[in-house]
Symmetry: C2
Subunit: 202 residues, 2 copies
Amino acid sequence: MKILIVGGKGTIGRKVSNHLSKKHDVVVAGRTSGDVTVDITDSQSIEAMFSSVGNVDAVACIAGDAKWAAFDSMTEEDFYIGLRSKLMGQVNLVRIGQNYLNAGGSFTLSTGILADHPVDMTTSAAMVNGGIHSFVKAVSLELKNGIRINVVSSGLVEDAVDKYEAYFPGHNPIPMKKVINGYVKSILGKGTGEIIRMYDNC
Amino acid sequence: MKILIVGGKGTIGRKVSNHLSKKHDVVVAGRTSGDVTVDITDSQSIEAMFSSVGNVDAVACIAGDAKWAAFDSMTEEDFYIGLRSKLMGQVNLVRIGQNYLNAGGSFTLSTGILADHPVDMTTSAAMVNGGIHSFVKAVSLELKNGIRINVVSSGLVEDAVDKYEAYFPGHNPIPMKKVINGYVKSILGKGTGEIIRMYDNC
């Protein structure tokens, strides 16, 4: 299976790429490194990436930013950082990528526990994640040629505990092995329109 | 209680405004009519509305557009119609309105069943609704002075059956009385961060 992993050099992406590379032909796309570079906030960059990579059997996106800040300090423009990147970046990957997916292929997007269980300072990140959850359900009704789409929503992942634990009081870290399994389930399983939640006690 | 209803002349807004007017001081804001006009896609217009109306005890927003179309015909710009209107329009109402709400006041936003149970051609509308659900949960953790926020998510409402039933095969229409109760529960109740779902058999 030829699998394109956007964000394949990130904290989660690296582990997912390494795992899938054992049995599949993995192409890693990153903002500044990887087999191909892409800026997901720019549709022309997404189009150029697919044009360079060609048809694939699966696309996983483990990329996208949103601003974390206190709500009463967030400007309108601050919200658009997440809307252009993690929200529309992923929507545009599907919108453009549907033309490069082989029949029966799949998209796997990424969100996070904030969609369902937000914490302080995450109004934008939560909103973007929740938007992607509903988008995945909706677009799964319309994709053609047997193309599937799911989203993996993880809690605080083990490899990011040092960086983020102060934001997630009392959250049980999710082992990377379980997070990887979310992507494996989406890519190698048969489900579509699923929100694959990797939470522990939330 | 002084209640500002944005979209108070619409299908749902009219019924909610009429009901609440019996016991409260209701100010209706509409795009082209009402006690005050507002374009929720424009933050300056929102600021002007609040500046004209002054402090209130509750704001209900029953307004906002998103484009309905087949996913494979949707352009990137088509998605931004919903992002600027129903999504950021409501976020900006809260962002700006928090400065005009009396202590203990409330915001009530509006979404719809598509967030949870999308139908054909609703990738944008579903996404925007889902985004607002998570936003409401997140921002409820941060609003100050006892200000509450909830969102009412209705199924196909009785008064819109003629216009929309073809899009919602097999959906049980929701009586307007129940929809009104969603807003009453949010405005007169004590809950915050709630997604008040008015669905029937979904």
